[in-house]
Structures are given as C-alpha cells and as structure tokens.
Symmetry: D2
Subunit: 162 residues, 4 copies
C-alpha cells in the first residue's frame, strides 16, 4: 500500500535557531522521525511548503488540494500547523476526493524534547491505512472527520464540534 506524505510545515517541523534565538523552519524532520519509528511503510514524501499555518493563504490551501487530487496514491498524510488545520481539512473535505486523507501536526516541535510529533505521526499513518475514504484530523490519539472538529485554543487540544 503506497502512501503519499505532503509536508506543509507547522510547529511539527519548527526548529530553534541559536544565532537569532528564534523559531524557524529548516528541512522537514519527518525522515528522522520515520527512522526512529523504524517505519517500514512505502511512503513518498514531498514538501509542498514550510509555513506556520497562521500564514497559510487560500492559494496555499488550494495547492495542498491540487496535490492531493493529482497524487497517484489513494492514501495521503498531510503534516500541518495546528492553528488552521481544520480549515485545510474543510477545503479538502468539500472536494470529495475518492481518497483517505489524514492531517496531523504537533503542539511542540519535534526538535524539542517533549514533542507529541512522533506519537501523532504513528497515529496518523495508522489511521490513513485503516480509515475509509474521507478527510480526517488525527491529533491527541484520536481521529475526527473534517466536518466535526475544532481546535480548543485554550487547552491546545482537538475536540468534536458542539
């Protein structure tokens, strides 16, 4: 089963730049995370962009959609900032692609010691293999359909809409 992975950035991939003292993006860390997990899946990884999701534009989200649409694979993982992950999920969900698309990210950069990134990556890669066609957000060990998820910004967790 071939799985496509699209990287868009987000906290998942931020690193600390010691010269400037700021957080920034370099190359994706996903390859070392997959090595750490000893992942033996057939994955095709592409970096579409490396942005904080607060900086994502409609054009960026359409780029993600078009890449999902044109990918040869039927199962797609998208790594994404958590702040607007549900918006991109909505854009993808409304397109009704005949695919299983799972979005995930991290609350703490993988580059830091206490990250949820590795756990979320394992979780999302499993959901993308097991779930029927549709678009989902995988965070906090759970998966949410694209039309029933919201980020609780006070707690920093994802929940069903209510």
């Amino acid at each position: 089963m071939a799985i496509r992975v699209f990287i868009t950035g987000g906290t998942f991939d931020k690193t600390y730049d010691e010269i400037s003292g700021q957080l920034r993006f370099e190359d994706t860390r996903i390859h070392e995370m997959l090595r750490l997990g000893r992942c033996r899946l057939d994955l095709a990884v592409r970096t579409l962009m490396m942005v904080d999701s607060l900086d994502m534009t409609d054009a960026d989200r359409r780029l993600v959609l078009e890449n999902c649409r044109s990918a040869a694979e039927e199962r797609i993982l998208v790594t994404h900032g958590t702040d607007t992950m549900t918006e991109t999920a909505r854009v993808l969900g409304e397109a009704r692609l005949p695919k299983t698309v799972v979005l995930t990210g991290a609350m703490v950069p993988y580059a830091f010691g206490s990250s949820d990134g590795l756990f979320n990556l394992g979780s999302a890669l499993s959901f993308v293999q097991a779930l029927p066609h549709g678009v989902y957000v995988a965070m906090n060990g759970r998966c949410f359909p694209w039309d029933d998820v919201v980020k609780n910004r006070a707690l920093g967790v994802f929940e069903n809409r209510r």
Copy 2:
C-alpha cells in the same frame, strides 16, 4: 470509545539500572508516553506482568487471554516484548474473541533516546480504534493479522509470513 490497555513488559518498558549496569523493569512508562503524546483517549491501563517475552510461559499467555476475554472493553491494546509477540497474538487470535486486540512493543526501550516506542504506541492506539474485530500486531507503522506475521530476527522488523 473506551480502550483497555494491558501491559506485559518487553523492551518497551525496560530501563537501565545504573547501580548494577543491567537492564530491568520498573513501573511502566506508558503514562508519561501518553502525556507526551497529549493523548485524549479514554484509556484504562492495567499492568498484568513486567517480563521479557522470552520468559513468558503458556500460563502467562493464558493470563493475557483471560484478561482480554473478561475486560468490559471491546477494544484492547497489549504492550509486549517483540521476541514472542506473535505467539501471544496466536493464542489470542485462536480464541476468536468478539473484540479488536492490537499488540505492540518496541525494539529499543522508551527510556533510551532512540526508541520506536512512542511511534508504535500512537500507531497501535489508532489501529485499535479503526480495525474490525480480530487480533493484530502493530509494528514498524504497519499492522498484521495474527495469522500472517513473523518477526525477522536478523533485521529486527516484522513482516508477513512467506
């Protein structure tokens, strides 16, 4: 969705004892792993035993089976040493429980820096939510039915039988 977690030990939970210079078991590390993953699932965790799976007896495996059978939950995760994980999977699979049971473990102790444990935990918790009733081994990002899995001891990875 309530999920039961049964801990049996394995490399997943080994730690380094600096006084003796040996690897040994203390309390399970699963709670700190779930905190790290910011896991928001409804989990009931029980430690059945803390053994290297090479030391597991038939009685131990029957204990795991009986606990799976009598658990109130329909979805069960079992953490287990990788060396005889497929044997316990077989014992559970042949019992034809009306449940989804997923076994996982780690090639490197979570207590060490380069562990696959957190990735496998996220992976297995997702499979146990998504898969139909049956018994599965979740390792290396994949899931295997209990009757089609073997550990490749030379490479330290799990594969389909052939």
Copy 3:
C-alpha cells in the same frame, strides 16, 4: 565547599509554550539538570530574575552584583543569557570581589533536545571550584577572564578579544 548559584534566566532556561507558540520562562530547569548530572556539590540556588539578557537593565546587573557581594559563599555561579553575559561579567569584574565568580549560559534552551546547557553547567561548576578569585565567563568548554572575552554573534561562540 559551598557554592552559591544565582539564576538570571537567558536561553539556558527558556521553554516552549505550546498554547502561544512562543518561547518563555517558567521555573529554572537547573535542579533537574543537577539531578541528571548526579551532582553531589553543596549548592545553594537562588533565582534572582528570569529574563532574556537583551532585556537586562543596569539596575538588574547591579542586583546581580549586590547579591554576589553579600552572599556568604566565596564561589559563585551565575546562569545568564549569552547576549549580554560579557557586560554583566564586566560589572562584576570591576567590583574586585574577593570571590571566584563564573558566568555561564546556553546557546540552545536546556528544554530542547540539542542543548549545550548540561555541558556548560558541568564545565562552569568545575571552573568555579578550581579557579582563583576573579570573574570568568565559561562557554564552549573554555573559561575567559571577564576583561578578555567577547561573543562572536555570527558564529554564536565566545572568544578572546582581539
């Protein structure tokens, strides 16, 4: 030999706030670092402030000086941001205290995976025990007298003046 430790903050003690996505200060991490190092020194730790050293004022530096002057101990470690560490070293050096004072910090927060903080802490605690009275900056494994040190901002390392 009793050693006084004064905490002023700096990158050494920054942490990542996942709700805001920003770096910030919480309690000092020095106690867990000393536990990790299995440090058996007789240390009295006090947090004077938790600031980025770019935000330190003359009043702040005088506070550090007065605390060094009035401390009962003859040997004092000061953790400090690297950006203006040499300025505080100068204020302390010009006071000609009959003490050994060593300033150290980190280029990467201890809270992140790739920090020099633990190495620098071990280094500075050793220099403060072994050096004669005076004020020193301990970074990059070396120690520099307060009047012969400068931070090379392009490379993020400390060097002798030239």
Copy 4:
C-alpha cells in the same frame, strides 16, 4: 592549550543493540557530545580500547599509562568505566607524570536519555584545564585526587576515602 583525550569505554560509551537486546560498544559518542556542548577546545581524541572497566587487565591499565606518558600534551582526559576508575587512577598517580590527568565516566550511557555523561564531560574538561599537575577523578561535579577517592557502589557515587 592542547588537550589529549583517551577513550577506554565504560558505561559512558555503551549503546543498546536492539537485535540482541544487549548493551555493547560501538564507536565512541564523544564527538557528538563535544558538538552538542559546542566545545571549542583544541582536543586530540584517541580510542585506546572499548571495554567495561570490570574487564580491564593490568596490561590494559599499563597501556593507558604508557599513552599518557608518551603523549605530547601536558593535559589529558581519560574516559573510563566507573567500576575500576580508581584503580587506573592509582596506576597513573603512582607514575608521578609531570601532567594533569583527569578520569571521568558516566553512571548511565550517554546513548540513553538520562545520562550524566555530558555533564561529566564538561566538568572533566574544565578540571583538566584548571588543576595543577596530578591525577584526578572527576565525577558527580567534583574532583578527587587519585589517592583520596572511592566509588560508593551502593549509591553509585564517588566519595573521599574515610
């Protein structure tokens, strides 16, 4: 100031072999530790052997002594297992070399998450620069003259003789 570093192994450099489930030696980890510490010292590193110090023979200790004697450098760091570190320190101390030699090690392998190795390395490299000629053991943030140190095996720490 050039410093010679002789590696002999010990817990400091042990790693976990996931295929066998045993601890073993591979290459020394000291280079990545020095990178992590952003160490800017002029160091010449040589691996003399990679052994658990319980397996060190008199011939091994004489090898360490001869290398210390013939090294061009006046300041030498020796990484060593903690179990017989004081014995090697005695062999070196009785030779009355016109040099400063510091031995250090770790109670937990650097390869594991909770190691004192990086702290001890920073500590020992500082002591070797600052101390007068003689042979010392640097552990737990302290330094001990070779003729006044013993390992407290119950607690896993180093102390003065009494």
